[in-house]
């Protein structure tokens, strides 16, 4: 065991910090990641005074030999077991850069901690033990790095002292691991032979490896470059929240790609609403900014009061994100319970949250053998799988190959983030044609000077669709008429539109009954009525299509106006329908009407005293 010293070797660090970078150290358990980190600090003289002495004292007290790894394994349990349990962030300034070096655990049991560390990193040092060679976690970590978006990797072949610094041993490991990384489209910047314990090739080239001409680990850090391309992409601004603390209605969010400036026309997906940027708001900045770019947390105001809520993605008109309810993705699973088909999860993509389920598990990707494919109905903890997801309502997204932040997501199982994925493909759902129609129609829409917000203020309610569903003979028509009467009696602009009313007029040319065309025309008429600011009440039976399809199509065509669904049945048998309200064998229709009105109020559709937190898009 070498006695720890603070050797002066490389030039002292340049004091002024110009930039910062996050680096993660990964690799198989016991291959020496924490030792490498400790050594890097000790040999550059960047440890606080007394740190080594403090750890030495603890080691002595416990009758253990000093190890550099102990410098950052903070928990008593970590030091006792000699393993890293959780990711540690350490700070290291060198050559004008402030590095946060994240030491990730290599034990399979702590993979979720490794992933948490690596997800924050812009570059990685992947450590492989020269004696043990490439192991399971060496490969799994390589695969996860590529999925987490860490594209810059330098491989450190550690413990070269245990193989007498033999060049052929090093070359064999380098060849094997380069071949593996090539399959993941990762090209390592350097592969460095080193011994962290002995301080070989850590901060300067060492005579022990005369056959190696590349940089030391320390010098290799300067060759990682900072991500700067994101600002050059087209704009992506996922909306995080809408604030009304004072007279300003400020939309906030972090720009994940591209740039924006005052005057830009923004379109919000999937609502397809658009408006111009009026101001860019900031606190304690004089003069206020006129533009912003990727990475910045911004606040903007618009020249028109349009519907905007958290989860929508703002872009320029000519480069919108994709929209669907189905996506294909590569997913890594960290949940204690396996991922199951048809179990409910919540998908979070940028700031959007939506219920979802797994439609198909195409294959499990085996990290140790990338060619191996087999079919399963569950994805177990620490496995990677190729899957198709189905979301409850349409989401805006990008392919990961095009946009990093809007091309990835996490799945939440009950209270926990349990998996992460990158989107590889848009899978078309049956709404694709209607969605295209709605988008093109909205883009070309000729607007008057009165906006939806003006109408809402004037009328005391917002536009919405109330759809009564359920089998025939449940008095849906009766309730619909009653609801219209009560609402109009309160002074609301409500209108009952029975689908039958289109048959002899607008639909008179439909000789052969085409359900798709009937629902399309019905949806467009409802869309027109909602654009007048009305509450449209309707029933479903005359449309002769499955209820789910009717609701989805209406939602697509009137988007982003909400469709409130109310199911009526004589009695409830079997699985309950997924509607906003359910009435089983109602007797008191006054009560039903009041319940519907209460629901509309709770959704902020009918005027109520403004709540203290006025971020609801419907609050009036």
């Amino acid at each position: 065991m070498t006695v720890p010293t603070t050797r002066p070797n490389t030039p002292p660090p340049d004091n002024a910090i110009r930039e910062r970078m996050n680096i993660v150290i990964v690799g198989h358990v016991d291959h020496g990641k924490s030792t490498l980190l400790g050594r890097l600090y000790a040999d550059t003289g960047t440890l606080p005074i007394g740190k080594i002495e403090k750890i030495q004292a603890i080691c002595k007290q416990q009758g253990k030999e000093f190890e550099y790894a102990f410098l950052f394994d903070a928990f008593l349990e970590e030091q006792q077991q000699g393993i890293t349990i959780d990711t540690a962030r350490t700070f290291f300034s060198w050559g004008g850069r402030q590095y946060i070096i994240i030491d990730a655990p290599g034990h399979k049991e702590f993979l979720k901690n490794m992933v948490s560390g690596a997800a924050r990193a812009e570059a990685a040092l992947l450590v492989i033990d020269a004696l043990e060679g490439v192991r399971d976690q060496s490969k799994r970590h390589g695969l996860l790095l590529s999925m987490l978006g860490v594209k810059q990797v330098t491989v450190v072949v550690n413990k070269m002292d245990l193989v007498n610094y033999r060049e052929d041993t090093f070359q064999a490991i380098e060849k094997e691991y380069r071949e593996f990384l090539t399959q993941l489209n990762v090209i390592p910047q350097y592969v460095i032979p080193a011994s962290a314990k002995q301080g070989i090739n850590i901060t300067q080239p060492s005579p022990e490896t005369p056959w190696y001409t590349g940089p030391s680990v320390l010098d290799s850090l300067a060759h990682f470059h900072l991500e700067s391309k994101r600002a050059e992409q087209t704009l992506r601004l996922p909306i995080q929240d809408v604030y009304k603390f004072d007279a300003r209605r400020i939309l906030v969010g972090r720009i994940t790609a591209g740039k924006l400036k005052i005057g830009d026309r923004l379109v919000f997906s999937p609502s397809n609403k658009s408006a111009n940027i009026q101001t860019i708001e900031a606190f304690n900045l004089d003069p206020p900014p006129t533009q912003a770019e990727a990475g910045q947390s911004v606040g903007i105001t618009l020249d028109e009061q349009i519907f905007v809520e958290r989860g929508q993605i703002a872009t320029h008109e000519e480069a919108r994100p994709l929209v669907s309810t189905r996506i294909r993705a590569n997913l890594f699973w960290l949940g204690a319970k396996p991922l199951e088909i048809r179990r409910p999860y919540v998908l979070r993509l940028a700031t959007r949250e939506v219920p979802c389920e797994v439609a198909t598990i195409h294959r499990i990707v085996d990290a140790t053998n990338l060619d191996d494919r087999h079919t399963q109905t569950t994805v177990k903890r620490n496995e990677v799988a190729d899957i198709t997801l189905r979301t409850k309502s349409p989401i805006a997204f990008d392919l990961y190959a095009h946009f990093e932040t809007t091309g990835r997501f996490v799945l939440v199982d009950e209270y926990d983030v349990a998996g992460g994925g990158i989107i590889t493909e848009l899978v078309q759902d049956d709404q694709e044609d209607f969605r295209t129609e709605a988008r093109e129609r909205d883009s070309a829409w000729v607007k008057g000077d009165v906006g939806a917000e003006d109408r809402a203020q004037r009328y005391g309610h917002r536009a919405a669709v109330v759809l009564l569903t359920g089998p025939d003979t449940t008095a849906k028509g009766f309730l619909a008429r009653k609801l219209e009467t009560v609402l109009v009696g309160e002074g609301r602009h409500a209108y009952l539109l029975a689908p039958e009313n289109l048959q002899r007029g607008l639909d008179a040319d439909l000789v052969d009954t085409k359900p798709d065309e009937i629902i399309r025309r019905f949806g467009e008429v409802v869309r027109l009525l909602t654009d007048t600011g009305s509450l449209v009440i309707s029933t479903t039976n005359a449309l002769q299509l499955p209820t789910k399809q009717i609701v989805q199509t209406l939602q697509t065509l009137v988007n982003p106006i909400p469709v409130i669904t109310i199911h009526m049945a004589k009695e409830l048998i079997g699985p309950q329908p997924d509607t906003d309200l359910i009435f089983a064998g109602p007797e008191n229709f006054d009560d039903c009407t009041h319940q519907i009105i209460a629901l509309l109020k709770s959704r902020g559709l009918l005027a109520e005293p403004a709540s203290s937190r006025s971020d609801s898009q419907y609050s009036i």
């Binding site: 903070a74 540690a88 402030q98 948490s116």
Partner: protein, 266 residues
């Protein structure tokens, strides 16, 4: 200063996530440089407003200037300030001579716990930084605490990209740490950049050759030798020092901090 603006953008994003997702949210403010920067970042995030209460757990042993500064900023910035205190422990005569870890546990950890229980906060924002001590280096930005306020560091939730832990079982709460990636130097760089009012009488040398580097209770915090008379000189001093920031904080000795933090210390 680009690296400071990057840190600011990240912290603002975290604060806005916290505000959006936690109905009953509060921020701890100890009047020290870190939690004051945190407070400033909240004003950044919410355009001059601070839309949640600020909690101060008063041990009664704080340096008097700190209390004056607290009340002045609370007035000027229209803050909703809530002061908590473990009155029972103080009535029973708790002080540092009964043991530093014991005193911190009673007056700070228990004081905070009482305040959280009384008000039922589900999200608490704190200004802890990774470089302060090695247990804080292992924190998440959004870190769950169980019913007893305890931190289960063996089983922390995964934190992927900018997706944080936003849901939790009843009875538990989440601690939110927007400053984890900031270093001590970054804090001072930001104070200078934004011209944030701080306790200059304590943090700068007033001609005695000493200044406080970290502020806590008067009996357990000692000033360091320093001739730094302005923020620039503090930054230069910190760039060249190798003494740990909390070297003047008595409760950190031995394994004090790991035990304190596991039990719910900030």
């Amino acid at each position: 200063m680009k690296h400071i603006r990057q840190l600011e953008d990240q912290s603002v994003y975290i604060l806005r996530e916290a505000y959006k997702n936690f109905d009953n949210l509060a921020m701890l403010w100890s009047m020290g440089k870190d939690s004051t920067v945190l407070l400033w970042l909240a004003r950044k995030a919410f355009f001059g407003h601070v839309p949640f209460p600020l909690l101060h757990v008063d041990t009664s042993y704080k340096i008097p200037e700190m209390i004056e500064y607290r009340d002045r900023l609370a007035r000027e910035w229209r803050l909703n300030l809530i002061v908590g205190q473990n009155k029972k422990a103080l009535a029973e005569g708790m002080n540092h001579t009964k043991g530093r870890v014991e005193c911190c546990t009673a007056l700070k950890t228990q004081g905070l716990k009482q305040l959280l229980e009384e008000k039922g906060y589900t999200g608490v924002i704190l200004g802890v930084r990774s470089d302060e001590d090695s247990t804080r280096a292992k924190e998440r930005y959004f870190s769950p605490r169980d019913k007893n306020n305890e931190w289960d560091f063996r089983d922390q939730p995964p934190e992927l990209w900018d997706q944080y832990k936003l849901s939790f079982p009843p009875g538990t709460h989440i601690r939110i740490h927007p400053l984890l990636d900031w270093t001590e130097i970054n804090i001072w760089e930001y104070i200078k950049l934004e011209n944030i009012p701080f306790l200059d009488h304590l943090y700068l040398d007033q001609g005695t050759g000493k200044r406080y580097r970290s502020l806590g209770c008067a009996p357990c915090t000692t000033p360091i030798d320093s001739t730094a008379k302005n923020v620039d000189e503090v930054i230069i001093e910190l760039r060249n020092t190798k003494v740990a920031e909390r070297a003047g904080r008595a409760q950190d000795e031995g394994r004090g901090m790991e035990q304190l933090r596991k039990d719910g210390y900030m």
